[in-house]
Amino acid sequence: MSTGPPLLRVSGLDAWYGDFQALFDVSVLVAEGEVVAIIGANGAGKSTLLGTVAGLLPRTAGSVTFDGRELAGMPAHRRVALGISMVPEGRRIFPSLSVEENLLVGAQARRPGPWTVAAVLELFPLLGDKRRRGGSQLSGGEQQALAIGRGLMANPRLLLLDEVSLGLAPIVVRRIYEALPAIRAAGTTVVLVEQDIGQALGAADRVYCLLEGRVALEGAPTELDRDRIAAAYFGVRA
């Protein structure tokens, strides 16, 4: 973990999802170059947390700063220009755009950096021979790879991955996660939301576990034993 100011600082965050409060006083620190996993059960507030950082959801209290800059009130598209890119839950591929166009549209913010169509296709070779296909004609795993590639095309400093493994076969999930070291090597900081605890613990430097909208546990995977994680995940007191 590098020293210096954190790339992302979430402090005292309250946020609402529709009519119910999804986050209570949540604080998260992410240093540049880290891979941080947010785990938790369904409805624990993981996706709301990412949505608030990406600018899709409003917050009612607390602050979110990126590289020392307060993001309050900044719309999502301007956060992309700053270097925050989110791969949304459910992939959200643009169905009327081809695979290549889905990647090109990811570079809409015109941030310079290592990620180009060629670099993404090298990272995910399974997309290579499908460049001209429509985005909706891909399998779930291909769509997930494309969604991550689209997110990378913005050359983000911070990549937010929401529920990458949801609905995918384990072998496909493994292939997607195999891309993570290359993304890291390019200097990108990653925050991933994951229901698959094993996958998250294997990939992350640090883990936050959310329980009913509050941070129940945080630490490096090596410091955390299974019982504590289970307690934080399910809310069962040991």
Binding site: G55, L56, S85, R92, F94, V105
Partner: protein, 288 residues
């Protein structure tokens, strides 16, 4: 021979209807917004051209150079200032707001220009024709069709090949995901409305040269535009041209039977398409 002539006239008239319909189709395609004031904006553009012609004495076709960009800006500001507040809801708000806009525009034009019918005089191009064997093809209807085809081709290229076009299509697919790739969806919507009003401005000026216009004419034009879009099929620009041509042919052939039958025949063909092929001649089949 009269029938053949009318058939050609009808096809050419389709070019004008396509110009009217394109913007309507674009706005619906990008933001699911039905602009009930679309026809009134065409009439507004015709009056703007009239003011320019009266003020400077230039040829009406030259006013395109000023009126079309002006209407683009008006469309952009209208979307940013008003219509963006109505999209994303249940779909009723934009209908009510554009219906209100339609009434405001009609009354504003009535106040400024009276209810008199006016026309744009384009001189010789209006009443000379090209003799093709025994068919007479008017230069101006031919120019209208070519302009319509050129506008559609340009728009098609813009949407298919450019960065802006990609952004518009992505926003149309999923406005929230579009924001996540750095697209300002409000700006994209405004550009779409700007383009829509720019194309309908061309339609309005060609209409003004072809025939006379008055402040209350917008809604009729809106209905023809709707019919061209539905006959051609939503989401298909070339379908819109075909839809305009089908409507144009139906109207001219109907009018050949009896002058009062022209518009009615157009409506009947439209109804037949709705009944037997609701997704239009070139639209994708409705699956949901």
């Amino acid at each position: 021979m009269t029938t053949a002539n009318n058939l050609v006239q009808g096809l050419l008239l389709g070019g004008l209807y396509a110009l009217f319909a394109t913007g309507l189709s674009l706005m619906f395609g990008v933001m699911r917004l039905v602009n009930l004031a679309h026809g009134d904006f065409a009439i507004l553009a015709a009056f703007l051209a009239l003011v320019a012609v009266d003020g400077t004495g230039v040829h009406p076709l030259l006013t395109l150079a000023v009126v079309v960009p002006a209407m683009f800006v008006l469309g952009y500001l209208l979307q940013r200032g008003v219509l963006n507040r109505t999209v994303g809801g249940d779909g009723l708000a934009p209908v009510l707001v554009t219906f209100g806009l339609s009434i405001i525009l009609q009354n504003l034009l009535l106040e400024l220009f009276s209810a008199d019918s006016r026309g744009l005089d384009a001189g010789a191009v209006e009443d000379t024709s090209l003799a093709l064997g025994r068919l007479n093809v008017g230069w101006f209807p031919l120019l209208t069709l070519l302009t319509g085809a050129a506008v559609l081709a340009g728009l098609q290229l813009l949407l298919a090949r450019t960065r802006l076009g990609r952004a518009l299509r992505a926003t149309s697919d999923d406005p929230e995901a579009a924001q996540l790739v750095g697209i300002d969806h409000r700006h994209a919507f405004a550009v779409a409305t700007g383009l829509a009003l720019a194309t309908v401005a061309i339609a309005g000026i060609f209409l003004g040269i072809r025939t006379t216009f008055s402040p209350a004419l917008g809604p009729t034009r809106l209905i023809f535009a709707f019919e061209a879009v539905i006959i051609g099929g939503l989401g298909s620009l070339w379908g819109t041209l075909a839809g305009g041509m089908v409507l144009g042919v139906a109207q001219t052939l109907g009018a050949q039977v009896s002058p009062g039958w022209g518009v009615l025949t157009g409506h009947l063909v439209f109804l037949a398409v709705l009944a037997f092929r609701p997704s239009g001649l070139f639209g994708k089949p409705v699956t949901t």
